[in-house]
Amino acid sequence: MTRQLPLALTLRHEPHLEDFVVGRNEAVIDALHRALDGSGERIVFLTGPSDSGRSHLLMGQCSAAQARGLQSAYVPLAQHRDLAPAMLDGLEGLDLIAIDDVQCAAANLPWEQALFALFNRCLDRETRLLFSGDRGPAALPLCLPDLRSRLASGLTLALKPLDDRGRLALLQSVAARHALALPDEVARYVLTRSSRDPGDLIDIVQRLDRASLAEQRRLTIPFVRDLLHQG
Protein backbone atom coordinates (compact mmCIF):
# COMPACT_ATOMS: atom_id res chain seq x y z
CA MET A 1 0.00 0.00 0.00
CA THR A 2 1.36 3.42 -0.83
CA ARG A 3 1.96 5.69 2.08
CA GLN A 4 -0.23 8.75 2.11
CA LEU A 5 1.26 12.04 3.22
CA PRO A 6 -0.89 13.61 5.91
CA LEU A 7 -1.44 17.33 5.57
CA ALA A 8 0.56 19.35 8.04
CA LEU A 9 -2.58 20.38 9.84
CA THR A 10 -3.37 19.89 13.46
CA LEU A 11 -6.86 19.98 14.74
CA ARG A 12 -7.32 23.21 16.64
CA HIS A 13 -9.46 22.35 19.57
CA GLU A 14 -11.07 24.94 21.74
CA PRO A 15 -11.35 23.40 25.18
CA HIS A 16 -14.78 23.03 26.72
CA LEU A 17 -15.75 21.97 30.22
CA GLU A 18 -17.87 19.19 28.70
CA ASP A 19 -14.90 17.44 27.12
CA PHE A 20 -12.70 17.61 30.21
CA VAL A 21 -12.06 14.09 31.49
CA VAL A 22 -13.36 14.60 34.99
CA GLY A 23 -11.92 11.57 36.78
CA ARG A 24 -12.06 12.28 40.51
CA ASN A 25 -12.50 16.03 39.98
CA GLU A 26 -16.29 16.23 40.09
CA ALA A 27 -16.11 18.79 42.90
CA VAL A 28 -13.98 21.07 40.72
CA ILE A 29 -16.43 20.94 37.82
CA ASP A 30 -19.29 21.56 40.23
CA ALA A 31 -17.50 24.60 41.67
CA LEU A 32 -16.89 26.00 38.17
CA HIS A 33 -20.51 25.59 37.12
CA ARG A 34 -21.69 27.17 40.35
CA ALA A 35 -19.25 30.05 39.98
CA LEU A 36 -20.80 30.84 36.61
CA ASP A 37 -24.42 30.62 37.66
CA GLY A 38 -23.73 32.77 40.71
CA SER A 39 -24.64 30.15 43.33
CA GLY A 40 -21.04 29.30 44.23
CA GLU A 41 -17.73 30.92 45.00
CA ARG A 42 -16.70 33.95 42.98
CA ILE A 43 -12.97 33.46 43.51
CA VAL A 44 -11.57 30.03 42.71
CA PHE A 45 -7.94 28.92 42.63
CA LEU A 46 -7.15 25.58 40.95
CA THR A 47 -3.90 23.87 41.77
CA GLY A 48 -2.29 20.88 40.14
CA PRO A 49 0.85 19.86 38.29
CA SER A 50 1.32 20.65 34.61
CA ASP A 51 -0.78 18.33 32.44
CA SER A 52 -3.45 18.11 35.10
CA GLY A 53 -5.81 20.02 32.85
CA ARG A 54 -5.71 23.42 34.54
CA SER A 55 -5.48 25.39 31.30
CA HIS A 56 -8.21 23.29 29.73
CA LEU A 57 -10.51 24.12 32.63
CA LEU A 58 -9.74 27.85 32.55
CA MET A 59 -10.32 28.12 28.83
CA GLY A 60 -13.35 25.86 29.12
CA GLN A 61 -14.78 28.15 31.79
CA CYS A 62 -14.30 31.13 29.47
CA SER A 63 -16.12 29.27 26.69
CA ALA A 64 -18.93 28.38 29.09
CA ALA A 65 -19.14 32.03 30.15
CA GLN A 66 -19.41 33.16 26.55
CA ALA A 67 -22.15 30.63 25.86
CA ARG A 68 -24.14 32.38 28.62
CA GLY A 69 -23.52 35.79 27.11
CA LEU A 70 -20.92 36.71 29.72
CA GLN A 71 -17.71 38.51 28.85
CA SER A 72 -14.45 36.89 29.79
CA ALA A 73 -10.70 37.03 29.34
CA TYR A 74 -8.15 34.26 29.53
CA VAL A 75 -4.68 35.43 30.58
CA PRO A 76 -1.90 32.86 30.13
CA LEU A 77 0.86 34.02 32.47
CA ALA A 78 3.16 31.32 31.08
CA GLN A 79 3.53 33.80 28.20
CA HIS A 80 4.10 36.77 30.49
CA ARG A 81 7.36 37.64 28.74
CA ASP A 82 5.38 38.46 25.58
CA LEU A 83 2.77 40.34 27.53
CA ALA A 84 2.82 43.35 29.84
CA PRO A 85 1.22 43.86 33.26
CA ALA A 86 -0.73 46.75 31.74
CA MET A 87 -2.84 44.19 29.91
CA LEU A 88 -4.74 43.66 33.16
CA ASP A 89 -5.94 47.28 33.21
CA GLY A 90 -9.67 47.54 32.82
CA LEU A 91 -10.32 43.79 32.91
CA GLU A 92 -12.31 44.20 36.14
CA GLY A 93 -15.25 45.28 33.98
CA LEU A 94 -15.60 41.75 32.60
CA ASP A 95 -17.73 38.99 34.07
CA LEU A 96 -14.91 36.46 34.32
CA ILE A 97 -11.14 36.74 34.35
CA ALA A 98 -9.21 33.46 34.12
CA ILE A 99 -5.56 33.79 35.02
CA ASP A 100 -3.52 30.72 34.21
CA ASP A 101 -0.18 29.66 35.68
CA VAL A 102 0.04 32.25 38.46
CA GLN A 103 3.40 30.72 39.48
CA CYS A 104 4.91 32.35 36.36
CA ALA A 105 4.21 35.78 37.84
CA ALA A 106 5.63 34.87 41.26
CA ALA A 107 8.76 36.81 42.21
CA ASN A 108 8.06 39.20 39.31
CA LEU A 109 7.13 42.36 41.18
CA PRO A 110 5.45 44.34 38.36
CA TRP A 111 3.21 41.38 37.54
CA GLU A 112 2.46 40.70 41.19
CA GLN A 113 1.54 44.35 41.71
CA ALA A 114 -0.68 44.31 38.63
CA LEU A 115 -2.45 41.15 39.84
CA PHE A 116 -2.84 42.62 43.31
CA ALA A 117 -4.30 45.85 41.91
CA LEU A 118 -6.64 43.90 39.62
CA PHE A 119 -7.79 41.80 42.56
CA ASN A 120 -8.57 44.93 44.58
CA ARG A 121 -10.46 46.50 41.71
CA CYS A 122 -12.58 43.35 41.40
CA LEU A 123 -13.43 43.18 45.10
CA ASP A 124 -16.50 45.36 45.09
CA ARG A 125 -17.69 44.13 41.71
CA GLU A 126 -19.30 40.92 40.61
CA THR A 127 -16.25 39.88 38.56
CA ARG A 128 -15.52 36.19 38.87
CA LEU A 129 -11.86 35.37 39.26
CA LEU A 130 -10.46 31.99 38.31
CA PHE A 131 -6.78 31.35 38.94
CA SER A 132 -4.57 28.37 38.38
CA GLY A 133 -1.14 27.51 39.69
CA ASP A 134 1.18 24.55 40.02
CA ARG A 135 0.82 24.93 43.79
CA GLY A 136 -1.55 26.64 46.18
CA PRO A 137 -1.33 30.34 47.14
CA ALA A 138 0.40 29.55 50.45
CA ALA A 139 3.27 27.79 48.68
CA LEU A 140 3.79 30.24 45.80
CA PRO A 141 7.08 32.16 46.05
CA LEU A 142 5.32 35.54 45.93
CA CYS A 143 6.99 38.83 46.88
CA LEU A 144 3.72 40.39 48.03
CA PRO A 145 2.15 38.76 51.09
CA ASP A 146 -0.90 40.92 50.34
CA LEU A 147 -1.39 39.10 47.05
CA ARG A 148 -0.87 35.72 48.68
CA SER A 149 -3.50 36.30 51.34
CA ARG A 150 -5.99 37.56 48.78
CA LEU A 151 -5.44 34.55 46.54
CA ALA A 152 -5.87 32.31 49.59
CA SER A 153 -9.18 33.92 50.56
CA GLY A 154 -11.11 32.23 47.79
CA LEU A 155 -11.92 28.60 47.22
CA THR A 156 -8.74 26.63 46.53
CA LEU A 157 -9.25 23.26 44.92
CA ALA A 158 -6.56 20.75 44.07
CA LEU A 159 -6.96 18.79 40.85
CA LYS A 160 -6.61 15.10 41.51
CA PRO A 161 -4.54 13.16 38.99
CA LEU A 162 -6.36 10.78 36.70
CA ASP A 163 -6.47 7.15 37.72
CA ASP A 164 -6.21 4.44 35.04
CA ARG A 165 -9.88 4.57 34.27
CA GLY A 166 -9.57 8.31 33.79
CA ARG A 167 -6.51 7.89 31.59
CA LEU A 168 -8.42 5.44 29.39
CA ALA A 169 -11.25 7.92 29.17
CA LEU A 170 -8.75 10.61 28.21
CA LEU A 171 -7.31 8.45 25.40
CA GLN A 172 -10.79 7.73 24.11
CA SER A 173 -11.86 11.33 24.37
CA VAL A 174 -8.86 12.67 22.44
CA ALA A 175 -9.25 9.92 19.84
CA ALA A 176 -12.93 10.77 19.43
CA ARG A 177 -12.00 14.40 18.91
CA HIS A 178 -9.80 13.24 16.02
CA ALA A 179 -12.59 11.00 14.73
CA LEU A 180 -10.26 8.11 15.37
CA ALA A 181 -11.57 4.68 16.36
CA LEU A 182 -9.51 3.53 19.34
CA PRO A 183 -10.75 0.12 20.53
CA ASP A 184 -10.68 -0.50 24.28
CA GLU A 185 -8.01 -3.22 24.10
CA VAL A 186 -5.75 -0.95 22.05
CA ALA A 187 -6.23 1.91 24.52
CA ARG A 188 -5.32 -0.45 27.38
CA TYR A 189 -2.29 -1.62 25.43
CA VAL A 190 -1.11 1.99 25.01
CA LEU A 191 -1.64 2.71 28.65
CA THR A 192 0.42 -0.25 29.86
CA ARG A 193 3.32 0.43 27.53
CA SER A 194 3.84 4.15 27.47
CA SER A 195 4.19 7.15 29.71
CA ARG A 196 1.07 7.59 31.80
CA ASP A 197 1.43 11.35 31.90
CA PRO A 198 -1.78 12.89 30.48
CA GLY A 199 0.20 15.24 28.21
CA ASP A 200 2.18 12.33 26.79
CA LEU A 201 -1.00 10.33 26.27
CA ILE A 202 -2.49 13.15 24.23
CA ASP A 203 0.71 13.30 22.13
CA ILE A 204 0.55 9.55 21.53
CA VAL A 205 -3.03 9.74 20.25
CA GLN A 206 -1.98 12.53 17.92
CA ARG A 207 0.89 10.39 16.65
CA LEU A 208 -1.44 7.46 16.19
CA ASP A 209 -3.82 9.68 14.28
CA ARG A 210 -1.12 10.86 11.89
CA ALA A 211 0.26 7.34 11.40
CA SER A 212 -3.18 5.84 10.89
CA LEU A 213 -3.89 8.46 8.25
CA ALA A 214 -0.53 8.02 6.54
CA GLU A 215 -0.68 4.23 6.51
CA GLN A 216 -4.43 4.16 5.99
CA ARG A 217 -4.73 1.52 8.70
CA ARG A 218 -7.05 1.00 11.58
CA LEU A 219 -5.60 1.10 15.06
CA THR A 220 -4.81 -2.48 15.97
CA ILE A 221 -2.42 -3.78 18.63
CA PRO A 222 0.27 -4.89 16.10
CA PHE A 223 0.12 -1.52 14.33
CA VAL A 224 0.33 0.41 17.60
CA ARG A 225 3.09 -1.86 18.92
CA ASP A 226 5.24 -1.10 15.84
CA LEU A 227 4.58 2.56 16.17
CA LEU A 228 5.44 2.69 19.88
CA HIS A 229 8.63 0.74 19.21
CA GLN A 230 9.65 3.35 16.66
CA GLY A 231 9.67 5.78 19.60
Binding site: Y74, D89, G90, A138, A152
Partner: protein, 413 residues
Protein backbone atom coordinates in the same frame (compact mmCIF):
# COMPACT_ATOMS: atom_id res chain seq x y z
CA UNK B 1 -13.03 47.12 21.10
CA UNK B 2 -10.14 46.45 23.47
CA UNK B 3 -10.28 46.84 27.25
CA UNK B 4 -6.97 48.67 27.43
CA UNK B 5 -4.13 50.11 25.38
CA UNK B 6 -1.99 47.02 25.77
CA UNK B 7 -4.57 44.71 24.25
CA UNK B 8 -5.19 47.20 21.48
CA UNK B 9 -1.50 47.24 20.55
CA UNK B 10 -1.28 43.50 20.89
CA UNK B 11 -4.17 42.88 18.51
CA UNK B 12 -2.74 45.42 16.06
CA UNK B 13 0.64 43.73 16.15
CA UNK B 14 -0.53 40.15 15.95
CA UNK B 15 -3.84 40.18 14.08
CA UNK B 16 -4.33 43.35 12.07
CA UNK B 17 -2.67 42.04 8.91
CA UNK B 18 -4.62 38.82 9.12
CA UNK B 19 -7.86 40.74 9.62
CA UNK B 20 -7.11 42.92 6.59
CA UNK B 21 -6.58 39.71 4.60
CA UNK B 22 -10.01 38.43 5.61
CA UNK B 23 -11.65 41.72 4.69
CA UNK B 24 -10.03 41.62 1.23
CA UNK B 25 -11.14 37.99 0.85
CA UNK B 26 -14.70 39.02 1.58
CA UNK B 27 -14.46 41.31 -1.44
CA UNK B 28 -16.75 44.04 -0.18
CA UNK B 29 -14.98 46.74 -2.19
CA UNK B 30 -14.14 48.89 0.71
CA UNK B 31 -17.57 48.62 2.30
CA UNK B 32 -16.04 46.93 5.35
CA UNK B 33 -13.55 48.77 7.49
CA UNK B 34 -11.55 47.62 10.46
CA UNK B 35 -11.65 49.90 13.42
CA UNK B 36 -9.73 49.12 16.59
CA UNK B 37 -10.32 51.21 19.66
CA UNK B 38 -10.44 51.11 23.41
CA UNK B 39 -13.91 50.67 24.74
CA UNK B 40 -16.64 48.09 24.85
CA UNK B 41 -19.39 46.55 22.83
CA UNK B 42 -22.91 46.76 24.22
CA UNK B 43 -23.60 43.71 26.37
CA UNK B 44 -26.33 42.26 24.13
CA UNK B 45 -24.16 42.43 21.05
CA UNK B 46 -21.25 41.03 22.97
CA UNK B 47 -23.22 37.90 23.74
CA UNK B 48 -23.59 37.19 20.05
CA UNK B 49 -20.15 38.25 18.98
CA UNK B 50 -18.00 37.65 21.99
CA UNK B 51 -14.34 37.25 21.32
CA UNK B 52 -12.55 33.96 21.82
CA UNK B 53 -10.78 33.65 25.15
CA UNK B 54 -7.68 35.60 24.29
CA UNK B 55 -5.87 38.23 26.28
CA UNK B 56 -8.57 40.81 26.77
CA UNK B 57 -12.10 41.16 25.69
CA UNK B 58 -14.72 43.86 25.56
CA UNK B 59 -15.87 45.91 28.48
CA UNK B 60 -19.09 47.25 29.68
CA UNK B 61 -19.28 50.94 28.84
CA UNK B 62 -20.08 51.97 32.38
CA UNK B 63 -17.24 50.01 33.83
CA UNK B 64 -14.45 50.52 31.38
CA UNK B 65 -13.13 53.81 32.61
CA UNK B 66 -12.28 52.20 35.94
CA UNK B 67 -12.97 55.55 37.56
CA UNK B 68 -14.59 55.89 40.89
CA UNK B 69 -18.31 56.36 40.72
CA UNK B 70 -19.67 59.72 41.65
CA UNK B 71 -19.41 60.15 45.39
CA UNK B 72 -22.83 61.67 45.54
CA UNK B 73 -24.54 58.63 44.07
CA UNK B 74 -22.63 55.58 45.17
CA UNK B 75 -20.82 54.88 48.42
CA UNK B 76 -17.29 53.58 48.03
CA UNK B 77 -17.37 51.60 51.25
CA UNK B 78 -18.42 47.97 51.30
CA UNK B 79 -21.71 47.74 53.23
CA UNK B 80 -20.84 44.20 54.41
CA UNK B 81 -17.91 45.49 56.43
CA UNK B 82 -19.49 46.82 59.59
CA UNK B 83 -18.56 46.74 63.28
CA UNK B 84 -21.32 44.17 63.70
CA UNK B 85 -19.59 41.74 61.37
CA UNK B 86 -16.14 42.41 62.84
CA UNK B 87 -15.07 39.83 65.40
CA UNK B 88 -13.40 41.46 68.36
CA UNK B 89 -10.51 39.79 70.16
CA UNK B 90 -7.52 40.72 72.24
CA UNK B 91 -5.55 41.18 69.03
CA UNK B 92 -7.72 43.96 67.62
CA UNK B 93 -9.73 45.46 70.48
CA UNK B 94 -7.83 48.73 70.65
CA UNK B 95 -8.05 49.31 66.91
CA UNK B 96 -11.76 48.48 66.98
CA UNK B 97 -12.49 50.79 69.91
CA UNK B 98 -10.62 53.70 68.29
CA UNK B 99 -12.37 53.09 64.97
CA UNK B 100 -15.79 53.11 66.64
CA UNK B 101 -15.04 56.41 68.35
CA UNK B 102 -14.04 57.92 65.04
CA UNK B 103 -17.15 56.55 63.38
CA UNK B 104 -19.21 58.42 65.99
CA UNK B 105 -17.16 61.59 65.91
CA UNK B 106 -15.21 61.91 62.65
CA UNK B 107 -12.46 64.50 62.36
CA UNK B 108 -12.56 65.25 66.07
CA UNK B 109 -10.99 62.50 68.16
CA UNK B 110 -8.03 60.88 66.41
CA UNK B 111 -6.85 62.32 63.14
CA UNK B 112 -5.38 60.57 61.27
CA UNK B 113 -6.10 57.07 62.47
CA UNK B 114 -3.28 54.83 61.31
CA UNK B 115 -4.01 51.10 61.53
CA UNK B 116 -1.11 48.77 60.87
CA UNK B 117 -0.53 45.02 60.94
CA UNK B 118 0.08 41.96 58.82
CA UNK B 119 -2.00 40.99 55.82
CA UNK B 120 -5.50 39.63 56.23
CA UNK B 121 -6.04 40.74 59.82
CA UNK B 122 -9.02 43.03 59.30
CA UNK B 123 -7.50 46.48 58.70
CA UNK B 124 -9.60 47.05 55.59
CA UNK B 125 -12.70 45.76 57.35
CA UNK B 126 -12.25 48.29 60.18
CA UNK B 127 -11.70 51.11 57.73
CA UNK B 128 -14.91 50.33 55.85
CA UNK B 129 -16.75 49.91 59.14
CA UNK B 130 -15.80 53.47 60.15
CA UNK B 131 -16.94 54.78 56.78
CA UNK B 132 -20.24 52.94 57.04
CA UNK B 133 -20.82 54.24 60.57
CA UNK B 134 -20.18 57.81 59.46
CA UNK B 135 -22.64 57.35 56.62
CA UNK B 136 -25.22 55.83 58.93
CA UNK B 137 -25.34 58.91 61.13
CA UNK B 138 -24.88 61.33 58.23
CA UNK B 139 -26.01 59.84 54.90
CA UNK B 140 -24.91 62.95 53.02
CA UNK B 141 -21.31 62.71 54.26
CA UNK B 142 -18.72 62.33 51.51
CA UNK B 143 -16.78 59.21 52.44
CA UNK B 144 -14.16 58.04 49.99
CA UNK B 145 -12.42 54.67 50.31
CA UNK B 146 -9.51 54.00 47.98
CA UNK B 147 -6.71 51.55 47.83
CA UNK B 148 -3.43 53.45 47.50
CA UNK B 149 -2.89 51.82 44.09
CA UNK B 150 -6.26 53.25 43.06
CA UNK B 151 -5.18 56.70 44.21
CA UNK B 152 -2.02 56.43 42.10
CA UNK B 153 -3.87 55.07 39.05
CA UNK B 154 -6.53 57.75 39.22
CA UNK B 155 -3.96 60.49 39.64
CA UNK B 156 -1.96 59.24 36.65
CA UNK B 157 -5.13 59.11 34.56
CA UNK B 158 -6.01 62.66 35.63
CA UNK B 159 -2.54 63.85 34.65
CA UNK B 160 -2.85 62.17 31.25
CA UNK B 161 -6.29 63.62 30.59
CA UNK B 162 -5.43 67.06 31.91
CA UNK B 163 -8.01 66.76 34.70
CA UNK B 164 -5.67 66.93 37.67
CA UNK B 165 -7.54 69.91 39.11
CA UNK B 166 -10.73 67.87 39.22
CA UNK B 167 -8.83 65.07 40.90
CA UNK B 168 -7.44 67.44 43.53
CA UNK B 169 -10.83 68.98 44.14
CA UNK B 170 -12.44 65.59 44.54
CA UNK B 171 -9.81 64.35 47.00
CA UNK B 172 -9.86 67.51 49.05
CA UNK B 173 -13.62 67.89 49.28
CA UNK B 174 -14.42 64.70 51.18
CA UNK B 175 -15.44 64.41 54.82
CA UNK B 176 -13.54 61.20 55.32
CA UNK B 177 -10.71 59.84 53.21
CA UNK B 178 -9.83 56.19 53.76
CA UNK B 179 -6.61 55.07 52.06
CA UNK B 180 -5.70 51.41 52.29
CA UNK B 181 -2.16 49.98 52.20
CA UNK B 182 -0.21 53.25 52.10
CA UNK B 183 3.03 51.23 51.85
CA UNK B 184 2.25 50.99 48.13
CA UNK B 185 2.96 54.72 47.83
CA UNK B 186 6.62 53.78 48.33
CA UNK B 187 8.86 55.12 45.58
CA UNK B 188 5.99 56.96 43.85
CA UNK B 189 7.14 60.50 44.42
CA UNK B 190 4.51 62.36 42.42
CA UNK B 191 1.72 60.46 44.18
CA UNK B 192 3.29 61.14 47.57
CA UNK B 193 3.51 64.81 46.75
CA UNK B 194 -0.15 64.94 45.79
CA UNK B 195 -1.18 62.89 48.78
CA UNK B 196 0.81 65.17 51.07
CA UNK B 197 -1.20 68.18 49.92
CA UNK B 198 -4.46 66.26 50.13
CA UNK B 199 -3.57 65.23 53.66
CA UNK B 200 -2.81 68.78 54.70
CA UNK B 201 -6.00 70.17 53.21
CA UNK B 202 -8.19 67.57 54.90
CA UNK B 203 -6.35 67.78 58.20
CA UNK B 204 -6.61 71.55 58.36
CA UNK B 205 -10.32 71.47 57.66
CA UNK B 206 -10.75 68.75 60.31
CA UNK B 207 -11.93 66.11 57.92
CA UNK B 208 -11.20 62.54 58.94
CA UNK B 209 -8.27 60.63 57.48
CA UNK B 210 -7.80 56.90 58.03
CA UNK B 211 -4.80 55.03 56.73
CA UNK B 212 -3.68 51.43 56.85
CA UNK B 213 -0.32 49.84 56.27
CA UNK B 214 1.47 46.58 56.85
CA UNK B 215 3.88 48.25 59.28
CA UNK B 216 4.40 51.11 61.73
CA UNK B 217 4.48 54.51 59.90
CA UNK B 218 8.16 55.19 60.59
CA UNK B 219 9.10 51.76 59.25
CA UNK B 220 7.48 52.11 55.84
CA UNK B 221 10.39 52.21 53.41
CA UNK B 222 10.28 54.55 50.43
CA UNK B 223 7.92 57.10 52.00
CA UNK B 224 8.97 60.73 52.44
CA UNK B 225 9.75 61.66 56.04
CA UNK B 226 7.19 64.47 56.05
CA UNK B 227 4.47 61.94 55.24
CA UNK B 228 5.72 59.46 57.83
CA UNK B 229 5.69 62.11 60.51
CA UNK B 230 2.17 63.27 59.58
CA UNK B 231 0.91 59.71 59.65
CA UNK B 232 1.92 59.61 63.31
CA UNK B 233 0.12 62.83 64.29
CA UNK B 234 -3.09 61.14 65.36
CA UNK B 235 -3.46 57.65 66.77
CA UNK B 236 -1.46 54.68 65.56
CA UNK B 237 -2.89 51.29 66.45
CA UNK B 238 -1.76 47.77 65.65
CA UNK B 239 -3.85 44.83 64.62
CA UNK B 240 -2.23 41.58 65.71
CA UNK B 241 -2.79 38.05 64.45
CA UNK B 242 -5.84 36.64 66.24
CA UNK B 243 -5.38 34.12 69.04
CA UNK B 244 -7.04 30.71 68.86
CA UNK B 245 -10.28 31.76 70.56
CA UNK B 246 -10.65 34.74 68.24
CA UNK B 247 -9.89 32.56 65.19
CA UNK B 248 -12.66 30.20 66.26
CA UNK B 249 -15.06 33.11 66.79
CA UNK B 250 -14.15 34.47 63.35
CA UNK B 251 -14.81 31.08 61.74
CA UNK B 252 -18.20 30.80 63.43
CA UNK B 253 -19.09 34.32 62.38
CA UNK B 254 -17.96 33.77 58.76
CA UNK B 255 -19.82 30.46 58.54
CA UNK B 256 -22.96 32.24 59.64
CA UNK B 257 -22.52 35.31 57.42
CA UNK B 258 -21.32 33.61 54.26
CA UNK B 259 -23.14 30.29 54.31
CA UNK B 260 -25.84 30.62 56.97
CA UNK B 261 -24.18 27.65 58.59
CA UNK B 262 -23.70 26.57 62.19
CA UNK B 263 -20.14 25.26 62.23
CA UNK B 264 -19.62 22.46 64.79
CA UNK B 265 -17.43 23.81 67.56
CA UNK B 266 -14.83 21.03 67.35
CA UNK B 267 -14.45 21.67 63.62
CA UNK B 268 -14.00 25.40 64.20
CA UNK B 269 -11.30 24.59 66.77
CA UNK B 270 -9.65 22.14 64.38
CA UNK B 271 -9.47 24.73 61.56
CA UNK B 272 -8.43 27.47 63.99
CA UNK B 273 -5.54 25.36 65.27
CA UNK B 274 -4.33 24.46 61.79
CA UNK B 275 -4.71 27.83 60.04
CA UNK B 276 -2.96 30.45 62.10
CA UNK B 277 -1.62 33.00 59.67
CA UNK B 278 -4.50 35.36 58.89
CA UNK B 279 -8.24 35.76 58.52
CA UNK B 280 -8.24 35.49 54.72
CA UNK B 281 -6.67 32.05 54.90
CA UNK B 282 -9.16 31.02 57.58
CA UNK B 283 -11.89 32.09 55.22
CA UNK B 284 -10.27 30.16 52.35
CA UNK B 285 -10.15 27.00 54.48
CA UNK B 286 -13.79 27.43 55.47
CA UNK B 287 -14.83 27.93 51.84
CA UNK B 288 -13.06 24.74 50.86
CA UNK B 289 -14.77 22.68 53.55
CA UNK B 290 -18.20 24.09 52.78
CA UNK B 291 -17.79 23.58 49.01
CA UNK B 292 -16.79 19.96 49.58
CA UNK B 293 -19.67 19.39 51.98
CA UNK B 294 -22.08 20.96 49.53
CA UNK B 295 -20.85 18.75 46.72
CA UNK B 296 -20.67 15.47 48.60
CA UNK B 297 -23.67 16.05 50.84
CA UNK B 298 -21.64 14.79 53.80
CA UNK B 299 -21.91 16.36 57.26
CA UNK B 300 -19.04 18.59 58.39
CA UNK B 301 -17.04 16.65 60.97
CA UNK B 302 -13.39 16.84 62.02
CA UNK B 303 -12.60 13.86 59.77
CA UNK B 304 -14.31 15.56 56.85
CA UNK B 305 -12.43 18.83 57.52
CA UNK B 306 -9.12 16.94 57.70
CA UNK B 307 -9.81 15.36 54.35
CA UNK B 308 -10.88 18.63 52.71
CA UNK B 309 -7.79 20.46 53.98
CA UNK B 310 -5.38 17.55 53.61
CA UNK B 311 -2.97 19.14 51.12
CA UNK B 312 -3.01 22.47 52.98
CA UNK B 313 -2.17 20.72 56.26
CA UNK B 314 0.49 18.53 54.65
CA UNK B 315 2.20 21.58 53.14
CA UNK B 316 2.16 23.33 56.51
CA UNK B 317 3.45 20.30 58.42
CA UNK B 318 6.28 19.99 55.90
CA UNK B 319 7.25 23.59 56.56
CA UNK B 320 6.79 23.73 60.30
CA UNK B 321 9.27 21.36 61.89
CA UNK B 322 11.37 22.02 64.99
CA UNK B 323 14.45 22.19 62.74
CA UNK B 324 12.81 24.78 60.56
CA UNK B 325 11.69 26.82 63.57
CA UNK B 326 15.24 26.77 64.98
CA UNK B 327 16.73 27.84 61.64
CA UNK B 328 14.17 30.62 61.16
CA UNK B 329 14.56 31.95 64.70
CA UNK B 330 18.38 31.83 64.53
CA UNK B 331 18.34 33.69 61.23
CA UNK B 332 15.89 36.27 62.60
CA UNK B 333 18.05 37.02 65.66
CA UNK B 334 21.27 36.68 63.69
CA UNK B 335 22.69 33.92 65.87
CA UNK B 336 23.72 30.35 65.02
CA UNK B 337 21.34 27.42 65.27
CA UNK B 338 23.94 25.66 67.40
CA UNK B 339 23.65 28.54 69.93
CA UNK B 340 20.01 27.60 70.48
CA UNK B 341 21.03 24.07 71.33
CA UNK B 342 24.01 25.06 73.46
CA UNK B 343 24.22 25.48 77.21
CA UNK B 344 24.81 29.26 76.91
CA UNK B 345 22.46 31.27 79.09
CA UNK B 346 23.23 34.86 78.11
CA UNK B 347 20.14 36.96 77.34
CA UNK B 348 21.00 37.27 73.62
CA UNK B 349 20.81 33.50 73.28
CA UNK B 350 18.34 32.52 76.00
CA UNK B 351 15.54 34.82 74.78
CA UNK B 352 15.59 33.57 71.15
CA UNK B 353 15.74 30.00 72.54
CA UNK B 354 12.62 30.66 74.61
CA UNK B 355 10.87 32.19 71.60
CA UNK B 356 11.81 29.15 69.47
CA UNK B 357 10.56 26.72 72.13
CA UNK B 358 7.27 28.61 72.37
CA UNK B 359 6.86 28.58 68.61
CA UNK B 360 7.61 24.85 68.55
CA UNK B 361 4.87 24.27 71.12
CA UNK B 362 2.44 26.52 69.24
CA UNK B 363 3.12 25.31 65.71
CA UNK B 364 3.94 21.61 65.99
CA UNK B 365 2.32 18.63 67.65
CA UNK B 366 5.49 17.57 69.47
CA UNK B 367 5.25 16.90 73.20
CA UNK B 368 7.12 19.13 75.64
CA UNK B 369 9.74 16.43 76.37
CA UNK B 370 10.32 16.06 72.60
CA UNK B 371 10.74 19.82 72.23
CA UNK B 372 13.14 19.91 75.19
CA UNK B 373 15.13 17.05 73.66
CA UNK B 374 15.37 18.90 70.33
CA UNK B 375 16.85 21.92 72.13
CA UNK B 376 20.03 20.28 73.32
CA UNK B 377 18.42 17.69 75.56
CA UNK B 378 16.65 20.06 77.95
CA UNK B 379 14.00 19.06 80.44
CA UNK B 380 10.31 19.57 79.61
CA UNK B 381 9.99 21.96 82.57
CA UNK B 382 12.43 24.28 80.80
CA UNK B 383 10.09 24.34 77.80
CA UNK B 384 7.16 25.05 80.08
CA UNK B 385 9.03 27.90 81.76
CA UNK B 386 9.99 29.31 78.32
CA UNK B 387 6.42 29.35 77.05
CA UNK B 388 5.15 31.05 80.22
CA UNK B 389 7.93 33.61 80.12
CA UNK B 390 7.26 34.49 76.48
CA UNK B 391 3.51 34.76 77.10
CA UNK B 392 4.27 37.21 79.92
CA UNK B 393 6.76 39.22 77.84
CA UNK B 394 4.38 39.44 74.89
CA UNK B 395 2.05 41.39 77.15
CA UNK B 396 4.70 43.65 78.66
CA UNK B 397 7.48 44.05 76.08
CA UNK B 398 6.58 45.54 72.70
CA UNK B 399 9.74 44.23 71.05
CA UNK B 400 9.20 40.61 72.12
CA UNK B 401 5.61 40.82 70.95
CA UNK B 402 6.69 42.20 67.55
CA UNK B 403 9.43 39.58 67.14
CA UNK B 404 7.12 36.74 68.08
CA UNK B 405 4.41 37.90 65.66
CA UNK B 406 6.88 38.35 62.83
CA UNK B 407 8.26 34.87 63.35
CA UNK B 408 4.80 33.36 63.67
CA UNK B 409 3.79 35.00 60.42
CA UNK B 410 6.91 33.81 58.60
CA UNK B 411 6.49 30.25 59.78
CA UNK B 412 2.73 30.14 59.21
CA UNK B 413 3.10 31.22 55.60
Amino acid sequence: MAPNAFVLDWVKKHYLEQMRGYVIDLGQDGALKISLEIGSAPRSAAAAASASPAPGSTLDAEKRAGRLPSLATKPTTNPDFTFGSFVEGKSNQLARAASMQIGDNPGRVYNPLFIYGGVGLGKTHLMHAVGNRILRSNPSAQVLYMHSEGFVAEMVKALQHGTIDNFKRKMRSVNALLIDDVQFFAGKERSQEEFFHTFNALFESQQQIILTSDRFPKEVDGLEDRLKSRFGWGLTVAVEPPDLETRVAILNSKAQQLFDLELPNEVAFFIGKRVRSNVRELEGALRRIVANAHFTGRPITIEFAKEALRDMIAAQDKLVTIDNIQRTVAEYYKIRTSDLLSARRSRTIARPRQVAMTLAKELTNHSLPEIGEAFGGRDHTTVLYATRKIAELRDSDHRVKEDYNNLLRTLSN
